[in-house]
Amino acid sequence: MTEHIALSFPAQVPIGRRAHVGVVASGDLEVLLEPLEGKLAEVAVHTKVAGYRMTWEAVFERFFARYPYALRLEIRDYGATPGMVWLRLVQAMEHAGKNGEQ
């Protein structure tokens, strides 16, 4: 069954615009990225593969250490590997106009 994971991380920098990348397809994921008011990043993961909360936490801890933007991420996952998740997250940041690391 699908698992829902909600996480939040401290953030410093506002982000200008939203971004949408990816597809809910085998080994892939859909990412919706939106600006968020305040000093917080919120993540909501909906995944087909239950039981990997710690892996998701590790990916996002590393991600927000590099990209400390105040944003809301909605992830719809269909069995993507952590590497695939990372690539989609970086792609979403590029679409939102943030190419480099903060």
């Binding site: 069954m1 699908t2 949408h20 597809v23 087909k48």
Partner: protein
């Protein structure tokens, strides 16, 4: 050392639904209607252990192609096999109905359908079927007012109710990678056995239902190369012809007579073998 010019290889079939639209519309510009951030996904998938997509796998945009105002609809093949459910079906049908309304108000809008679909989404049962029925009647309504152009350009192909929808369109464009048919090869093999059709025999399948074969059978109207400029040019040519009864439907009686001769060949009856000839004039 020779560098392989990977970036210069432009294949249309590998593009996502949104990328396909950007590649075909003038200047890559469009305005999306009911996009992912509206979060109108399917309510039926999660209770069945599946993850819904925020646009239900259907991308609807307004833009221009070859200067013609158009509503363009692309189905994302990667999400649930491009299946059409309640939400995606309603998005497609409503877009076509709004285009017809605009035509009646003297603001003509043609329609472009990029069809990559296994047909109705089985998890949504009758709601998906009803959605496809509404799409079909919307196509028939709009094609009296403006051209409705379908493109079948990927290996997912266009099957089931959406293949019927495709054949109602004013004009169908295909590429060598596309397939068009009522039942897919796996379904035929499952229902009638591998003696009837071997679903792993790709060469046979594309000879039977690939878009090149369909073009030679007169079941699609244009066969073009797998790149955006070729497809865009074919779309422009189809739109320039304006409103017309689909050529495929003009000789329906003659085609039916030919079909009857084909399914009941006297000498081959009872062998259970599928013949592979693409052209059956």
């Amino acid at each position: 050392m020779t560098e392989i010019p990977f970036a210069s290889v432009s294949t249309f079939q590998e593009l996502s639904a949104r990328e396909r639209l950007a590649a075909l519309l003038d200047g890559g510009q469009f305005r999306e209607l009911v996009g992912p951030f509206d979060r109108v996904g399917s309510p039926w998938l999660e209770p069945q252990g599946l993850v819904p997509q925020s646009d239900d796998g259907v991308v609807v945009v307004r833009g221009k192609t070859s200067g013609h105002a158009i509503v363009a609809i692309a189905i994302e093949a990667a999400f649930e096999g491009g299946s059409v459910g309640e939400v995606g079906g309603a998005k497609i049908a409503a877009a076509l109905e709004l285009a017809a309304e605009s035509c009646r108000a003297d603001d003509p809008i043609a329609a472009l359908l990029l069809l990559e679909s296994g047909g109705v989404r089985l998890q949504e049962a009758n709601l998906g079927l009803a959605g496809i029925a509404r799409i079909q009647s919307a196509i028939v309504g709009l094609r009296e007012l403006a051209p409705v152009v379908a493109v079948v350009a990927g290996p997912t192909g266009c099957f089931g109710g959406m293949s019927l929808a495709a054949t109602l369109c004013t004009w169908i464009i295909g590429t060598a990678h596309g397939r068009l048919g009522m039942n897919g090869p796996e379904v035929i093999e499952q229902e009638a056995g591998p003696d009837e059709l071997d679903a792993t025999d790709r060469e046979l399948i594309w000879k039977l239902i690939g878009c090149e074969a369909r073009y030679r059978q007169g079941l699609i109207d244009a066969f073009v190369a797998d790149n955006a400029p070729s497809i865009a040019k074919a779309i422009g040519a189809a739109l320039a012809q304006g409103v017309q009864t689909p050529v495929r439907l003009q000789n329906a009686e003659a085609r039916l007579a030919g079909l009857r001769r084909d399914v009941m060949p006297t000498e081959a009856a009872g062998t259970g073998k599928v013949t592979t000839g693409g052209h059956r004039a």
